[in-house]
């Protein structure tokens, strides 16, 4: 990965901002990437059509998504330092190529009925695009907004949530345009329509991500330090006291207890959120199930229709996205540790209320679940800012990448835990509120573990800090900064 890249205009040195560049051009560049790769959470709209086209099991199709998420975690963890070394433009370009070609290879797989090409294209290659595309804009925004890292990471990671909101209706519309019969309520789009939709999405996302790649810039100077940005007028000097000056490498960060405490915090936060997301539609129907009338041949029915349950899922998506921006921005004022006390502590209270009094009214149920999901989104979006506070901006992208393994683990553990507990009581969609209580109380316990881990987070010991060796060679704004460990 250290070799020469074919396109010199993508080099880190060519993406350093010149005086006069507005840092407010960076958030739309970051959003362009996150809105595109956020599509992955809307993959479920293709499931039924792909299952029918390949005449295979739903599990075989679900593997495409799972593979993409696993590759997201792995590529974020292993390519994080490459992203930091080569800069955001090269990273976003690489991400766009992977994501766009992932769709194209997937389309070829659909056209030739070769499922393995979907695994390879969308799952593996697209998944690498997800990982590289996820961490690069976040790390760049933190460097541009060291005065408001929570706002910065909230903007980008809100985009990831927003990407699914766009892709889901857009994909349905595209499939219906390519196969008008698919507009009927129970109809399934043809493989040809899905293939064409993949091609359109691939080309569209590639173009939008290229817009991001060519508009993104790095702050001048030492890897985006506030001092450098302030000296060139990008950031008001009034924020200078907020800069901690901490610089800890990714290799050192994973040796600190703070990293692993935050790993546990993220794991618990995501596991608890997925607990609701996974079962949202059947859960609200089961919570408001009314017993069958005496003598009736029909089973228990729900006061909540399938359409209303779909509306509930939509509400949760909105709360998830809004929480990413609102709570993460609020963390700049409240403080990172305190806001996680709220996410996890208040989350425990809300989960307990959901389990005990949630069945009293649909409005109460929806309000509690919506608040929980807003904390879930907030926890996702605030974690890079927390990392920046503890480890500095030096390799925050690489550290974030390594921390995202917690997301991958929670993505497997969360549904496993919740489904196992709920299914031990019966089949979701035919249960009642009491059947969900054990699973919800387990989630309270999971949040409690995260709550305690957050309380143990302290400043990182100075023995892990890197010392900046300001040699003349590294003084040039475009030169990669070299850090050298010096004796404390």
């Amino acid at each position: 990965m250290r070799g020469k890249f074919a396109f010199p205009f993508l080099d880190r040195s060519r993406s350093i901002a010149k005086p006069g560049f507005s840092r407010w051009l960076v958030p739309p560049a970051a959003l362009a990437v996150h809105l595109s790769i956020g599509q992955v959470y809307a993959f479920s709209v293709f499931k039924r059509a792909l299952q029918a086209h390949f005449a295979t099991s739903l599990t075989a199709i679900a593997w495409i998504f799972s593979l993409a998420i696993v590759m997201l975690g792995l590529s974020a963890a292993f390519l994080g330092t490459w992203v930091e070394r080569n800069g955001p433009r090269k990273a976003m370009f690489t991400s766009a190529c992977c994501w766009g070609s992932g769709f194209a290879i997937g389309a070829l797989g659909i056209a030739t009925r070769q499922l393995w090409l979907l695994y390879l294209g969308y799952g593996v290659i697209g998944g690498i695009g997800l990982g590289v595309g996820y961490i690069s804009p976040v790390s760049t925004l933190i460097k541009w907004f060291p005065d408001r890292p929570g706002l910065a990471t909230g903007m980008a990671i809100m985009g990831f949530g927003g990407g699914a909101l766009i892709a889901s209706p857009l994909s349905v519309r595209l499939m219906q345009a390519f196969d008008p019969r698919a507009a009927a309520p129970t109809a399934i789009a043809s493989g040809d329509a899905v293939m064409k939709t993949f091609l359109v999405l691939g080309v569209g996302y590639f173009a939008v991500m290229m817009f991001g790649a060519f508009n993104v810039r790095l702050p001048p100077g030492s890897r985006g330090s506030l001092a450098a940005a302030t000296s060139t007028g990008h950031v008001s000097p009034k924020y200078a006291p907020l800069q901690t000056g901490v610089t800890i490498s990714a290799a050192n960060a994973i040796r600190t207890p703070q990293f692993w405490m935050l790993w546990v915090v993220l794991f618990c936060n995501v596991t608890a959120g997925i607990g609701i997301l996974e079962q949202a539609a059947p859960m609200i129907q089961d919570f408001f199930r009314v017993p069958a009338a005496a003598g009736s041949s029909l089973g228990a029915t729900s006061r909540v229709s399938a359409a209303v349950a779909g509306g509930f899922v939509g509400l949760l998506s909105m709360c998830n996205m809004a929480g990413r921006f609102i709570w993460s921005s609020a963390s700049d004022l409240i403080g990172r540790k305190r806001i996680y006390v709220i996410y996890l502590g208040l989350g425990m209270v809300l989960y307990t209320l959901l389990a005990t009094v949630g069945s009293r009214s649909t409005a109460l149920f929806a309000g509690l679940a919506g608040m929980i999901l807003s904390f879930y989104g907030g926890g996702f979006a605030t974690i890079p800012a927390y990392l920046k506070d503890l480890f500095g901006t030096f390799q925050v992208g690489a550290i974030h990448g390594r921390l995202l393994t917690a997301w991958s683990c929670a993505g497997v553990a969360g549904p496993l835990i919740v489904n196992a507990i709920i299914e031990s009581r019966g089949k979701p969609g035919a249960l009642n509120a009491a059947d969900y209580q054990p699973a919800l109380f387990v989630m309270v316990g999971v949040l409690a573990v995260g709550f305690v881990a957050n309380l143990f987070v302290r400043s990182v010991h100075t023995r892990y800090h890197e010392r900046f060796d300001a040699s003349p060679a590294t003084a040039r704004p475009s030169a990669p900064i070299q850090f050298k460990k010096v004796a404390p």
């Binding site: 010149k18 006069g20 927003g162 766009i166 817009f211 779909g310």
Partner: protein, 39 residues
């Protein structure tokens, strides 16, 4: 090394490019979520 300050038009265009699709997604989701209250 200097360049003209980023123009407001360029900033507005960049934000519109991401704001319009995001607005579309939010609108579609709100329509879906409205069924929670309208049945």
């Amino acid at each position: 090394m200097t360049q003209a300050p980023t123009s407001r038009a360029r900033l507005a265009l960049a934000w519109l490019l991401v704001g319009i699709p995001l607005g579309y997604g939010v609108y579609e989701t709100l329509l879906k979520a409205a069924k929670l209250f309208t049945g």
